[in-house]
């Protein structure tokens, strides 16, 4: 994973627009959050290989970044805190946000094929 290149991400968002896609969207603070520190609240959520189509999609911010996808069926996908992407991927978007220790906190991935 490399630090996000905003223009590179936007380029792929534009390429994937208007197509049937599979999404992986996730946020987690780790299964052991409350075990390690009682004051914390363990929470995580993911949706994997749900099908979406968006007609507007863009990346915003100065890093960490936000991505918003306006869905054809009328809904939204939103993700904040994205720091990294995989720049070797040209046909799909693999993005994540990592904390200071390098752990994944948030992930957003789009692909024509299931993950």
């Amino acid at each position: 994973m490399q630090l996000i290149d905003q223009a590179g991400v936007q380029h792929i968002l534009d390429r994937l627009k208007g197509q049937d896609l599979y999404i992986h969207l996730e946020m987690t603070n780790g299964a052991y959050a409350a075990h390690m520190d009682k004051s914390r609240h363990t929470a995580s959520t993911f949706i994997k290989n749900a099908e979406i189509r968006y007609n507007e999609g863009s990346i915003a911010g100065k890093g960490p970044y936000r991505v918003g996808l306006k869905l054809e069926q009328g809904g939204w996908v939103y993700s904040e805190g994205l720091t990294h992407w995989e720049d070797s991927e040209t046909e799909r978007l693999v993005m994540a946000g990592h904390d200071k220790e390098g752990r994944l906190v948030v992930a957003l991935q789009l692909s024509r094929e299931p993950f």
Partner: protein, 216 residues
């Protein structure tokens, strides 16, 4: 001496700190060990330090790490059962059936798993619960002994002290290699708070593994 040990844990690396020394010692004595690892830990947060994995590549990387850990321990029969990380408690029918098949095939004398309710991660608790449910269906005379791993805060107030304390100092090297095999997940330096693995306190900690015998 045990006849056959069946280890059932949900994530690659669950074996490393909990039981790798115990397993290496049994294997050294000639007991066959089968490790059924339910998932590939595909939802783990650790991607290596510095980062070398991502959500897409993590399962493949962790599969290779798991195989390397098993080689370090001496485990020759590794079964990767293809469940998805974090979903164990929602896939109980399939899991119970898988565990029943393994028990039928291997007829282990000892099963190692997590103590349901005292193992922090929902996948751990659900794995232990399925194993105990499957073993409970066997006639009492055919049931293997069950050694459980537990580590929730305050668990000893409810289930008492562990009754099995294994001295595995002779197998510390196996254990360290098992831990280090999981490169994307652990930095041994962090786990032993920056001390050398040759530090006596670290050796002491790595040299003991503890379990609770599950009473049906």
């Amino acid at each position: 001496m045990e006849r056959h040990i069946l280890v059932i844990l949900p994530h690659p690396d669950d074996e490393a700190f909990s039981s790798s020394g115990t397993l290496a010692s049994h294997i050294h004595k000639g007991t066959p060990v089968t490790y059924a690892c339910l998932t590939l830990g595909e939802m783990g947060r650790n991607m290596g330090s510095p980062l070398f994995a991502n959500r897409v590549t993590l399962p493949t990387i962790r599969r290779v790490e798991l195989e390397e850990s098993c080689r370090a321990i001496g485990i020759e029969d590794l079964r990767m059962l293809g469940f998805h990380d974090k979903t164990i408690e929602f896939d109980q029918t399939r899991l119970t059936q898988k565990v029943e098949e393994l028990l039928e095939e291997l007829k282990p004398s000892l099963v190692i798993t997590f103590y349901p309710g005292y193992s922090v991660h929902p996948d751990h608790d659900a794995t232990g619960a399925a194993v105990i449910r499957a073993i409970g269906k066997l006639p009492a005379a055919d049931r293997p002994v069950i050694h459980c791993i537990a580590f929730s805060k305050g668990c000893e107030n409810e289930i008492g002290k562990p009754d099995i304390i294994n001295d595995v100092k002779e197998y510390t090297e196996h254990k360290i290699r098992s831990v280090q095999a999981h490169k994307s997940q652990f930095s041994l330096g962090q786990m032993v708070t920056g001390k050398s693995v040759d530090d006596p306190a670290v050796r002491q900690r790595l040299g003991t593994e503890q379990f609770w015998t599950y009473r049906m």
